[in-house]
């Protein structure tokens, strides 16, 4: 993934945008953070967050017009938060008093501020705090401009003067009673000579009379750049109520103008670009979306004594109405994200960083996502972690840095399913043309081979145009593992076989195969078996009680509404009652098979399944055999749709027992034999595990967790017995042998019993023994472990 792609995809997520309140606040006070502190009674911390953005907290906490309140999300439920009143409480109950002046070395730059309204004072305060020498020119006899028109009841003068104290601490020079213009005097021009930059906060007045020589708008106001506050003279900046409509004057907007001018003047003095990568002040829209579905109404807390403002208790209660706006809709649903305790963007960043060319560092998060794209489905902006994980896995594989243990098992499984052991491509017997071909897929064939046989008979009976058969694996596991090459190979091989058959319509037994073909082979028409039931009529199902079943939709077909509907319709026709899970259809979850989560992070896959199967007390109904096996293996009674139609091995409608890797593996080869024998009358039986292996339940579950198959054990024993290469434990008499067919060395402890073997233990390792028994050489690459 290129950096620009990453940045584009990562920026889709709105979670890091400001909440509505802070976005609307022209100076973007961290309202949410402040309220979170205030609700816990941490008024000093809350005040610090407020004062970090606001130049005069005492003044602003009394007179802000609080545009934030109007947009607060609580307006959708009851009342917007009383934000300004809480700010006032933070000011009142703050215990960390002290001057807000930083002690900095004075710089040589001199800036003049003309007008002592709130915008000019803002400029003076912030620039002086950067060490710049400031002189404020005020025509009147007091600082404050328009603030002085406010009554004492609105703006307490003692608090105001206390706030302005900081200007003294910062050695700001104040010249009262000095009018600046070029009409009665030449004082403005002199200012331009004497100072490095000038800020004009002139208030609501007629500017043309001052003859400042600046470009004016048609309404007589000074023409300024709204982001930089720059005028037609590059040394002169302007803002404040002068630029506002007299019917809607805003103190806080004037503060925002002042803060914009501060950034510009500072950059101007350093001869830096005024516009490069700068965030504008002023109200803005936000992409942060917050669900209020579960929020109960709770109206605004009234102020018992308006003259004093909220008491501490009142402020705490009011602040606790803030719902701490966050999106995190994907995070709330996804067990994987919650497991790694990382918000979506942070997770994406880590995955990208690890896989980028500089690092090429494998990390568990990139390999653990199930690539189910539930996050994308729930996100209003289609952000998906899967985009990052898929790219990272591909990059790691290409760079040769994907650890072989990560997905090795799945790749072996795929290679086996696409080998002679399972692959079969046939027209229907006695036909030279076929209308359809049935592609049951490797997992259904492994889990319930007899259902595949029955389905094929049904299809041949119902479809008069002929139905061929293709056994194999669609290759999705390679795509999930980032093995693009292997995936493309299996697609190409599928395509050529399908072409040989005359390009029939494909009937997929598995929703994942269905999706793979639909997405990657658009020239082919594909149906899911269940849709064929819908079209050609259900087979006569075995007798069954009517069941109540909660549907778990497959994650690969989350957008396939017709499939989802047809499953529900079939269940109704079979006389069962359908219950819906909360996360269903488009928002459904993955069973842990997706993205090979269960291979790369088995314990997490268990956690995912365990949570999902807890969601409803009803038995589950699925239409993917991996979902069935994964849920059943974790103890949930789960029916595959085909269990309700074709039944178990005896044809009875029942929830089948768990099926593990070994059974699925061997069943595939056996299914091929059965088909060849029963449908085509050929007898070339190949059995992957032709001897009887006696394995205890406990050992079987150890093998399942360490991904060891009966087939692997059989090959070890076959090799050991053929060559005599085996060890023996003289205490127990057990034989011990090892064999490395591909990348993994398998060990078996066994004894012969009749024509079979009792397996006492089975284990494996990936570290490769290159020279057993050879003496150590002095090759300095060699290190002792």
């Amino acid at each position: 993934m290129e950096l620009h792609q990453y940045q584009y995809l990562e920026a889709k997520c709105g979670q890091n945008d400001l909440p509505r309140c802070a976005a609307e606040c022209p100076i973007h006070v961290d309202v949410r953070g402040m309220l979170q502190e205030a609700k816990r009674g941490n008024f000093s911390k809350a005040y610090a967050l407020f004062a970090q953005t606001v130049p005069f907290p005492g003044i602003i906490s009394q007179v802000c017009e609080q545009p934030c309140q109007q947009v607060c999300i609580r307006n959708d439920i009851d009342d917007g938060l009383a934000i300004n009143a809480i700010e006032r409480a933070c000011y009142s109950y703050n215990e960390k008093k002290g001057s807000r002046a930083k002690l900095l070395l004075q710089k040589d730059n001199k800036v003049a501020v003309v007008g002592s309204g709130i915008s000019g004072l803002t400029v003076a305060y912030h620039l002086a705090n950067k060490g710049i020498k400031i002189t404020v020119f005020e025509a009147g006899n007091n600082l404050g401009g328009r603030l002085l028109e406010l009554t004492e009841g609105i703006l307490n003068r003692r608090i105001m003067l206390n706030d302005l104290e900081v200007l003294n601490d910062l050695h700001v020079e104040i010249r009262l009673g000095v009018a600046i213009n070029n009409s009665c005097s030449n004082s403005f021009n002199e200012l331009l000579q004497e100072f490095d930059a000038v800020y004009l906060g002139l208030g609501q007045r007629d500017i043309s009379a001052l003859k400042l020589g600046l470009e004016l708008n048609s309404n007589g106001t000074i023409c300024v750049d709204p982001t930089t506050m720059e005028t037609s003279n590059s040394k002169v900046f302007a803002g404040g109520s002068h630029l506002q409509d007299k019917n809607c004057l805003s103190v806080i907007s004037s503060v925002a103008d002042g803060k914009s001018a501060v950034i510009s003047i500072d950059r101007f003095l350093q001869k830096a670009s005024l516009t490069a990568s700068r965030h504008a002040f002023g109200s803005k829209t936000t992409r942060l979306l917050t669900s209020v579905d579960s929020i109960n109404p709770q109206p605004m807390v009234p102020i018992s004594d308006p003259a004093k403002g909220y008491t501490e208790e009142e402020a705490k209660t009011e602040a606790s109405r803030c719902i701490d706006c966050q999106c995190l809709e994907c995070f709330k649903l996804c067990e994987y994200m919650r497991h790694f305790k990382m918000e979506p963007r942070a997770l994406a960043r880590q995955i990208f960083k690890n896989s980028s060319a500089i690092a090429h560092r494998f990390s568990l998060p990139m390999n653990s996502c199930s690539l189910c794209r539930q996050c994308e489905a729930v996100c209003q902006y289609d952000f998906s972690i899967a985009d990052f994980c898929e790219a990272a896995r591909e990059t790691m594989v290409k760079a040769g840095r994907m650890p072989p243990s990560a997905f090795g098992f799945a790749i072996q499984d795929l290679k086996y399913s696409n080998s002679e052991a399972f692959v079969l491509t046939r027209l229907e017997p006695e036909r030279s043309e076929i209308e359809y071909v049935f592609y049951p897929g490797c997992q259904l064939s492994g889990s319930a081979p007899w259902q595949v046989s029955k389905a094929y008979s049904y299809l041949r009976e119902k479809i008069s145009g002929g139905v061929g058969l293709m056994l194999g694996c669609c290759g999705v596991q390679a795509s999930w593992a980032g093995e693009t090459g292997i995936f493309q190979e299996s697609l190409a091989s599928f395509r050529s076989k399908w072409t040989e058959l005359g390009k029939p319509g494909v009937i997929a037994g598995c929703p994942t195969c269905y999706m793979v073909f639909k997405k990657h082979l658009p020239e082919l028409s594909v149906d899911l078996l269940s849709s064929i039931f819908d079209k050609f009529g259900l087979p006569e199902p075995a007798q069954s009680n009517s069941l109540v079943l909660a549907i778990h939709d497959s994650c690969t077909t989350r957008y396939e509404i017709e499939i989802q509907n047809s499953i529900r319709k079939i269940l109704n026709n079979l006389g069962h009652t359908v219950k819906e899970l909360t996360a269903s259809r488009e928002l459904t979850e993955c069973c842990g098979f997706g993205g090979l989560m269960q291979i790369s992070n088995r314990s997490l896959a268990h956690k995912v399944v365990d949570r999902r199967i807890e969601e409803s007390e009803y038995d589950y109904l699925v239409y993917c055999s991996m979902c069935r096996d994964n849920f059943t293996n974790r103890g949930k009674t789960t029916y595959h749709l085909l269990d309700l139609i074709f039944g178990d091995e005896d044809g009875k409608i029942a929830a089948r027992p768990p099926v593990g890797y070994s059974r699925r593996h061997d069943n595939r080869a056996r299914l091929k034999n059965t088909f060849l024998k029963e449908v085509w009358g050929e007898d070339i039986s190949y059995d992957p595990t032709p001897v009887k292996l006696i394995i205890s339940e406990a050992l079987r579950s150890v093998m399942e967790n360490s991904l060891i198959l009966d087939f692997d054990l059989y090959r070890v024993i076959e090799y050991a017995e053929r060559t005599g290469n085996k060890l023996q434990n003289i205490v127990s008499g057990h034989y011990l042998a090892y064999f490395k067919p591909e990348n993994v060395t398998y060990w078996v402890e066994y004894t012969a019993e009749g024509s079979g073997y009792v397996i006492h233990d089975a284990y494996s390792h990936r570290l490769e023994m290159t020279s057993p028994g050879e003496s150590e050489n002095d090759d300095n690459q060699t290190c002792r472990v």
Partner: protein, 73 residues
């Protein structure tokens, strides 16, 4: 660097014989290779044919730790 545990390396090797050569095993270095890293480990081997004994505790224990450490490099 993660090291393999000495006790795990030897396991119950005294109880094991090479069934092919009918002889007790002896401890000697075995060369290993993984993700491009070569190293040697002292394990029980058959002094005649070189069959090696990797105890189950080793494969499931510190050998797996070494594998993970090498993958994570």
């Amino acid at each position: 660097m993660v090291k393999m545990n000495d006790e795990e390396k030897l396991g119950n090797g005294q109880d094991i014989i090479c069934a092919k050569c009918n002889i007790s095993l002896e401890v000697s270095p075995v060369k290993f290779n993984y993700v491009g890293v070569a190293f040697s480990v002292s394990l029980f081997n058959c002094p005649i044919c070189g069959l090696t004994y990797v105890p189950a505790v080793l494969a499931r224990g510190s050998m797996l730790d070494v594998q993970r450490a090498l993958e994570d490099k």
